[in-house]
């Protein structure tokens, strides 16, 4: 009876996952969708614990509850406390935990299998073959996902900012991967206990080496990919136990995550293979800024005056704004300009920053009114009637080369057409290139003035100038 009830609960949980994920794809229902998935998860977990049939000693129950309570407390507080800008790191970390969980399950099950029937392991019977395949796959994929996520975490964290690349790293990685496959096969054929630890070590190594050469800026894509890896690892767990809720959850995330990775890559106009094996995650040496024409500087006071006497100012935020943590300062700038009767809007490029929706999250954190954030297609026609465009720490997303230069790596990416405004003021710290590592001709436009300096300090000084006007 309990067993049957559990089956039904798993069915319900699976349906909730699907519906929740579906709703998460629509801005209006997204939050509810997340809660629905969460409800499905609670159902699945509670069912698994309370509808278990067979003798279980109290100590096991105590351990399970201890683990869940501890995990809940840590997970909840971390998630609640973290700064919005650190979210990719956090997602990466949680993803790693899931991978580790899958790997641990495989380890334990392998031991069970081995202790249960050590002789049979010498020549695994076909009956155990399926189990063994699931265990090995879960171990490998889970470990890769775990190790990769941790490296991604440190990269986003800044600890490992510079991508470290061994010479011919792609070949080295390929060799490690080959080793993983060989050892897996060997393990499958021999069932040796020692080998599984070798396999574990190799998989972890591969996870590390896989993410190491990729530039920190590409981490969102990598995390999305590792996310779908963990999904697949969970699905193998499902195969192992014939557990349908693990299967639906795992496969769903596996396929949805893979598609999401591809969609993300498309949005920033980079093929996924280039991200993984790829050339330009490391920024090419700073683009040469000779001979492109002259760059015009502008002082803070002049900028403040110009803005103060404008009718309409559009702010284009970019990655630099996030790095400088200048979201509160820019909100202040907006408020004071509005007090002075200037119309202010934000133009949000879909891939500005380093994760999708980065700018929305960032500005929402600083309490910027949602209505002020305009999407690319809506705001582009407004630039010709704009007095001042203020580009803060953005670069690629306003690079006209995307429209004019077919040889440019970002050619074809839709951009914010800042060049159509009457005045363009660009704040960044130097003439250095942005994420794509390419020069930006907008800087040399006669209508453009450069306002060098860290975004936060520059904007703060701008605000205090404006206050005196």
């Amino acid at each position: 009876m309990q067993h049957q009830l559990l089956s039904v609960i798993y069915i319900i949980a699976s349906v909730l996952f699907i519906i929740g994920l579906k709703m998460m794809g629509n801005p209006k229902s997204a939050r509810k969708g997340n809660l629905i998935s969460a409800a499905g998860m609670c159902l699945a977990i509670a069912g698994t614990i309370f509808l278990h049939e067979g003798e279980v000693s109290t100590i096991v129950y105590v351990l399970i509850f201890l683990a869940i309570v501890t995990g809940t407390i840590i997970g909840w507080t971390t998630a609640k406390r973290v700064q919005m800008t650190k979210i990719p790191e956090l997602v990466s970390m949680f993803n790693g935990m899931g991978g580790a969980c899958a790997a641990l399950i495989s380890l334990i099950e392998f031991n069970h299998l081995y202790t249960a029937n050590p002789a049979a392991m010498e020549d695994p019977v076909p009956a155990a073959a399926g189990t063994l395949i699931c265990i090995i796959s879960g171990l490998v994929i889970g470990s890769v996902s775990f190790a990769g996520s941790i490296i991604a975490f440190f990269k986003l964290n800044g600890t490992l900012e510079k991508p470290v690349r061994l010479p011919k790293y792609n070949y080295i990685n390929l060799a490690i991967l080959a080793l993983v496959v060989i050892v897996s096969t060997q393990l499958f054929l021999s069932g040796s206990v020692a080998l599984i630890y070798v396999l574990l070590a190799l998989s972890l190594l591969y996870g590390v080496m896989f993410v190491f050469p990729i530039g920190g800026a590409d981490m969102p894509v990598v995390i999305s990919l590792l996310n779908s890896f963990t999904g697949v690892a969970a699905a193998f767990g499902g195969f192992l136990y014939g557990n349908h809720v693990m299967l639906t959850g795992g496969i769903l995330v596996g396929s949805a995550g893979t598609l999401l990775t591809i969609v993300m890559c498309k949005a920033m106009n980079r093929p996924i293979l280039q991200v993984i094996f790829g050339a330009f995650g490391t920024h090419a040496a700073t683009a040469s800024n000779d001979a492109k024409g002259n760059v015009r500087d502008i002082s803070i006071t002049d900028t403040a005056t110009l803005m103060n006497y404008s009718k309409k100012v559009i702010i284009i935020p970019g990655y630099g704004l996030a790095v400088a943590q200048a979201q509160y300062a820019i909100h202040e700038l907006q408020t004071i300009l509005e007090d002075h009767g200037v119309e202010v809007k934000y133009a949000i490029h879909p891939v500005a920053g380093r994760m999708p929706g980065h700018m929305n999250v960032l500005l929402a954190e600083a309490n910027v009114d949602y209505e002020k954030l305009c999407e690319m297609d809506d705001i582009n026609p407004e630039f010709p009637t704009t007095d001042v465009v203020f580009v803060v720490g953005a670069n690629d997303v306003v690079n006209p080369a995307a429209k004019t230069d077919p040889s440019s790596p970002i050619f074809g990416m839709p951009i914010l057409e800042a060049e159509n405004a009457r005045n363009i003021i660009i704040n960044k710290r130097s003439m250095n290139a942005g994420y794509a590592g390419i020069d930006n001709l907008l800087f040399y436009d006669p209508k453009t003035s450069m306002l060098f300096g860290d975004a936060k300090s520059v904007i703060t000084r701008l605000v205090s100038e404006l206050k005196q006007m």
Partner: protein, 104 residues
């Protein structure tokens, strides 16, 4: 020939499972179709929480581990702990993110 035959047998023996996998993959793909860019991050994070369902496996392992199999118990404890982190952290952080978007 023998190989193909074995392969076919494998496939047809697991027919139900194969349909299940294929259909789930289609559902996963279709469900994501046409998400606006702004939602990519929350969606990634939400999906991340869902694969935390692996915790069900971890709990299952523990429930089937005998009281004196210390290694398994310890490993299982950590598996459940990590799984919980994945689940709880994932859903909470997604909710926070989506809350930000909602704000008018």
């Amino acid at each position: 020939m023998e190989l193909i035959k074995n392969f076919l047998t494998l496939l047809s023996e697991n027919e139900q499972m194969i349909y299940f996998v294929i259909l789930s993959i289609f559902v996963g793909i279709e469900v994501i179709g046409g998400v606006p860019t702004v939602l990519h991050t929350p969606l990634m994070s939400g999906a991340n929480a869902i694969h935390g369902v692996v915790i069900v496996g971890a709990i299952f392992v523990m429930l089937n581990t005998s009281q004196d199999d210390y290694i398994s118990l310890v490993l299982g404890f950590f598996a459940v702990l990590l799984g919980t982190l994945n689940v709880v952290g994932g859903f909470v952080v997604t909710d926070r993110m989506l809350e930000m978007f909602k704000k008018k």
